[in-house]
Symmetry: C2
DNA sequence: ACCTGAACACCGTTCAAGT
DNA sequence: ACCTGAACACCGTTCAAGT
């Protein structure tokens, strides 16, 4: 029995198991051999579904990026940017050990993952010139990525247990069990994002003037 | 001749050669065996000077951190923060392939590397409360790290040649040979940092009030 | 103390072979 | 098409042995 009637592997199965390993054992814990063993299969079998290990990481990054929300630009660019950044941060931060996946990602892939195009369009619609819009999106992305990466460096034992706690179990307001570092990180990120947006309002005022006639500013 | 009269290896020699490899071939190019070969030595010899590979990366991070300047807080916290962030960014960005060293670094090590203590003290001296000072330092650090990491993902061939160009050869104003992406990244970082500081001024005004009596604010 | 040579326990990936 | 078993070319690290 070299193979059952139906395929026992699939891209999604492999990708999810790989993410579980990263959550539980960190980035170093993910090897093709262990991934295969967890799936009850030989390492070579994985190469039927993925060309190489990096492609597995690509798939994980793609999945995490699904939670990013670039659609908040209806009312104001401030709200759109805030929604985007927070969803981006949360998406990565939910799997702290996987943050390095984004760090290793190519520039092109990162751009796609962050939904940079939608964000850019959202900024344009509120009077940001094209070049400045790119810079604003990049600047916000820097902040999110740096925050998510720094936060991911905690006690490995704690970190691995982190994703196990479900959203429902924790309650929206955050449980008192969260360590101090976690709340400080979140608070620092929130403060940084709020301050960045406040500061960008000055830039926006100085740069969107020419378009004020065609499209009323606020 | 199992060994010459004097030791041919030293911690500094190993560390510098390791950084050269990272600059030229990227993080994956650094293996203990290749590092040893470049030094004309067997891999096992390296373990006389470093307990393991991670310790070599520690030494590299420590060296890069030497260029970080946390001493600009004499006149204002804005200038101090700006000096710190820019020197921090430049230190990492000069060795783009080594940026991942900081991403992998433990939280404790990162804190030490960024000279967080000096920065924290500088913020305190200008009226920031302790907790807010931590958040400001963390927020700025997020931005620097995210910017440095994102910038590091370029065409590998270009990137490897990058550190070879000396500061003097490029001129202070930046040469026209810099690719567009590079200038956009720098500009985005500068915009982000300026905006962040501008936004933080509002926070500072709202939070340093109680200390205004004891220490005149501006 | 410092370096060598050989080994151990791993890696990612390939490939002929089976179904 | 999908999976196996064995192999190839690597890793980081250890350790007895030499000087």
């Amino acid at each position: 029995m070299a193979r059952p009637k139906e395929a026992i592997l699939s891209r999604n199965l492999i990708r999810d198991q790989a993410l579980s390993i990263i959550d539980e054992e960190g980035m170093d814990g993910l090897t093709m051999r262990r991934l295969a063993m967890r799936l009850g299969v030989q390492a070579a079998s994985l190469y039927t579904h993925f060309p190489n290990k990096e492609a597995v990481l690509d798939a994980i990054a793609e999945r995490l990026a699904k939670r990013i929300d670039p659609t908040g630009f209806a009312d104001s660019w401030q709200e759109g940017l805030s929604t985007w950044a927070n969803s981006y941060y949360t998406a990565i931060h939910w799997h702290p050990n996987a943050a390095a996946v984004f760090a290793t990602a190519s520039r092109a892939r990162t751009a796609a993952l962050t939904r940079a195009n939608e964000v850019h369009a959202g900024l344009l619609s509120h009077g940001w010139p094209a070049r400045q819009a790119s810079m604003v999106a990049a600047a916000t992305g820097f902040l999110v990525l740096g925050a998510a990466m720094t936060t991911s460096e905690e006690d490995p034992a704690q970190t691995s247990a982190w994703p196990a706690r479900s959203v429902a179990a924790r309650g929206g307001a955050g449980s008192p069990l969260d360590h101090f570092a976690e709340t400080l990180d979140r608070a620092s990120f929130t403060m940084a994002l709020d301050s960045l947006i406040t500061g960008l309002e000055s830039v926006h005022a100085g740069v969107s003037g020419r378009q004020a006639a065609a499209k009323p500013n606020r």
